[in-house]
């Protein structure tokens, strides 16, 4: 399991990857974010969760510094992630821990076979 961000010819990076960048440039490589720590940009704890999701659900937008993986262009990339618990605050450093099932497949409206359901929860470093 990896958490792959995509680099594009125009120097931008995105997670998840897309067939083209926001400006239409082609992909030129990937960066595995699961090997990086990240900084919490903002977070929330949701108490009204949808089917198949733990309650409460701790979520954050985190930012990865990938400057060591690129020669030019963007040097950071963001992701929406689950936090392991409600202990993290804005500015905290967090690291990914693999989880077999972030959400119960088939509990919600999304067709279970249309996507994967494992991934990473993030814990304070």
């Amino acid at each position: 399991m990896t958490m792959e961000a995509t680099r594009y010819a125009d120097g931008t990076i995105s997670y998840p990857g897309h067939p083209r960048s926001r400006a239409g440039a082609e992909p030129v490589g990937t960066i595995d974010l699961s090997e990086h720590t990240a900084e919490v940009v903002t977070w929330t704890t949701s108490t009204a969760t949808p089917p198949g999701i733990r309650e409460p659900n701790h979520l954050a937008i985190v930012e990865f510094d990938v400057s060591e993986d690129v020669d030019d262009g963007e040097t950071s990339v963001r992701a929406l992630v689950q936090l392991a618990d409600g202990e993290a605050e804005t500015g905290d450093e967090v690291e990914p821990v693999y989880t077999e099932e972030l959400r119960e497949p088939g509990a919600g409206i999304r067709e279970p076979d249309s996507q994967d359901w494992d991934g990473y929860r993030f814990e304070p470093v």
């Binding site: 926001r22 903002t42 949808p50 999701i53 659900n57 992701a79 929406l80 689950q82 999304r110 994967d116």
Partner: protein, 388 residues
């Protein structure tokens, strides 16, 4: 449609919003027939019929609602089309109706927006709405309220805004809703109650969110030259534009900027010849209180990071403010039946411009409505003015 014609709105209606026994087919027919009656136009004169609706298939197991509506109200053989742009389906319907008249393809276009939602649980309805998300977002369990919580925290921390400023948005819009007989909630809610209500997506609480709602709304469009055959009291669609932001919300450069709001606003201002200072009244998409700040800033009513200060100063109050926002009560108080909401925004601005807003009436020649789909994923901004 002549080359000098403008696109006019000659009728508008909305059903009671809230928990209704009626299902989608009946809701749409109720608003559609009321609108035609309001304008004094026979259904047989309707050439194009648009239905703004996001999820009748998912919520009710019914598709083809535009066909059903045309039959039910006697508008056959009008061209029909369902418009789905998630929560901005209503605004997209206004854009489609404007296009149908401006292009000369139709001389009488009826737009009806509606949704039936309250028979589902909150978990089910939030999951259906969150199905717009990318797979990497969906598996985290993020909901639209969660996006609002993430964004609100970032906004409050970045701009050093007090939590109470969001409560003022909710209390203002509930106060306005008291005078809207069609609103789901017609009661005032004080800031203390809002700030002590249960947490839904920290730091946002129950009263920072709009309710789940059933309802329908409608508008009737035609060339101005045709409008004059029916009435002297009509409104003109001066400018309308739509824009799209990233599908994945966290990929946006600035979490507090909704590019779709900025770009659709620019387009509507340019088409109309008006600017932010010319707007007398606005309906903004307050599905969550934080969205009112983001739209005020994106549309140029406030500088970046300063919308909360204007709200605290009373700038957006209905009876005393310089720019009344959400005189209808907004989605917050009036309710948010997805496909109907953008149309209902247009209904409020129309009523304000033709002087039919009753106790909610403000002095307005030019009004704006901004309808947001997803969490800013798709946005339509419409500017209307009173006929002169």
């Amino acid at each position: 449609m002549t080359s000098s014609d403008r696109v006019a709105v000659i009728g508008a209606s909305m059903t009671q919003f809230g928990q209704r026994e009626a299902w989608i087919q009946e809701l749409l027919a109720e608003a559609g027939l009321d609108c035609l009656e309001d304008a004094g136009v026979d259904a047989g004169e309707v050439e194009h019929l648009y239905v703004s609706n996001m999820t009748s298939g998912e919520f009710e197991g019914m598709t083809g609602v535009m066909n059903a509506l045309a039959h039910d109200i006697g508008a056959l053989p009008a061209y029909t089309q369902r418009v789905d742009q998630t929560s901005s389906s209503g605004g997209a319907g206004i854009f489609a109706a404007w296009q149908s008249i401006a292009s000369g393809a139709s001389e009488m276009t009826l737009l009806v927006g509606g949704e039936k939602m309250t028979h589902t649980t909150t978990g089910e309805s939030t999951d259906i709405i969150a199905s717009i998300t990318h797979p990497v977002e969906y598996k985290t369990g993020v909901t639209l309220p969660s996006f609002a919580g993430l964004t609100a925290r970032h906004y409050l921390e970045r701009f050093d805004a007090p939590r109470e400023s969001l409560a003022k948005v909710a209390s203002k819009n509930h106060k306005n809703g008291v005078d809207n007989p069609h609103a789901q909630f017609q009661k005032e809610v004080d800031e203390e109650t809002i700030l002590e209500s249960p947490i839904i997506a920290d730091p946002l609480r129950l009263y920072d969110f709009c309710p789940v709602t059933d309802g329908s709304a409608a508008m009737l469009f035609c060339p101005e030259s045709v409008a004059k055959e029916y009435t002297d009291e009509y409104a003109i669609v001066s400018g309308v534009d739509g824009a799209t932001d990233t599908h994945v919300v966290h990929e946006r450069e600035d979490p507090t900027t909704m590019r779709g709001v900025v770009e659709s606003g620019k387009g509507a201002y340019e088409m109309s010849g008006y600017g932010p200072d010319d707007i007398d009244v606005a309906e903004l998409h307050d599905m969550f209180t934080i969205l009112e700040f983001l739209q005020m800033e994106g549309l140029g009513f406030a500088e970046k990071g300063e919308a909360w200060e204007l709200v605290e100063e009373g700038y957006t109050e209905r009876d005393t403010g310089e720019l009344p926002i959400n005189t209808s009560g907004g989605l917050k108080s009036k309710g948010h039946p997805l496909g109907a909401s953008g149309v209902a925004q247009g209904v409020e601005i129309y009523e304000q411009l033709v002087g039919e807003a009753g106790p909610r009436q403000v002095d307005a020649d030019v009004g704006l409505c901004c309808n947001v789909g997803g969490f800013g994923n798709c946005v339509i901004t419409t500017i209307m003015e009173a006929a002169r």
